[in-house]
Symmetry: C2
Subunit: 165 residues, 2 copies
DNA sequence: CCTTAACTTCACAAATTTCTGAAAGAAGCG
DNA sequence: CGCTTCTTTCAGAAATTTGTGAAGTTAAGG
């Protein structure tokens, strides 16, 4: 038998990590299945798993995998790719996963900003409440700008430490 | 009748804003009642409302107010104060609300980091999965540091624009 | 084209969450 | 101290969410 270059994986240790990390994500507001699927991908060797592998590893139905993956793709936390010459779909976490996720969170903040602007207008900019909303809006606008710069710094930091673009 | 210095509030406009903004917060993962209570406080003149006022404005039972406020206080999005010489409790959003909320989110990230460190150890730092987890961990550690600096910049920015410490 | 493997959609059963009314618990005020 | 007012806790009804099996859809491979 050919020698494997990487240590063997302990499925139980993997599962323990997956469930533990997923639980933290759930606590932060992510739904259960998306959280588990995402954690499983994160803990996989290549960062890629097929639907069948996820179904097997997490003991959930293909339908559940489908739903979880649809959600994760929508918020750009995984990408889906078709294995060439096969009906198998593969789901991948990429290196930019968190960048993407944060960028997506930004669009959430945009909607908050819209709601706040509407509030300022309808309550009146010169009312006490209007002023509070204005300040809140200013905070989010500030964050928007800062996060862009921050992510650029992260890319530089990562390139230096992990040596890729 | 003495003249009021502030424009009168249109309860319907307030309610529209409250429900709309709360809906955005819910979509971002907050529970419904905490979201509505928070939005109501944000849209109030003084940033302070009593339990009874919240109950009345949102058409929910005192029990629901109690539960929502307990949660919001726990994550530092409102503070509770006792009106001196009364059994009435007052709930307040302060200017530091978002700072506090973000700081709190940081403690969530700390738990993610713990889970990741555990994963790196149990999967092995030299496995492909271990390396991916290590990079993810590095990202969060980076964010931790950056957010602290960012919030300092916000305080300066706010002081300049809104003129308070 | 037809077959078949793989994913998705849909309706529903189960589990969970949410909110309420009622009872219990604090705390001011007489 | 006990009365009264407000808040919290608790058990349960109602609504929502979640995950499944089964049928439906898509596309590869003969």
């Amino acid at each position: 038998m050919a020698e494997r270059s990487e240590p063997a994986r302990d499925p139980e240790a993997v599962s323990r990590f997956v469930e533990h990390f997923a639980a933290q994500l759930v606590e932060a507001g992510l739904q259960r299945m998306p959280a588990r699927v995402f954690a499983a991908l994160l803990a996989s060797d290549r960062g890629v798993l097929t639907s069948a592998e996820l179904s097997e590893a997490l003991k959930i139905s293909p339908a559940a995998v489908s739903g979880a993956v649809r959600y994760l793709a929508q918020v750009h936390m995984v990408s889906r790719e078709r294995e060439p010459g096969s009906r198998r779909e593969r789901y991948r976490v990429h290196g930019d996963q968190w960048y993407e996720a944060l960028t997506n969170r930004e669009t959430v903040i945009k909607r908050w900003e819209d709601a706040l602007r509407e509030g300022v207008t309808s309550l009146g900019p010169d009312t006490p409440a209007g002023r509070r909303l204005t300040e809140t809006l200013a905070f989010f606008e500030f964050i928007d700008r800062e996060v862009v710069a921050m992510m650029e710094r992260w890319r530089a930091h990562r390139a230096e430490r992990f040596g890729r673009a």
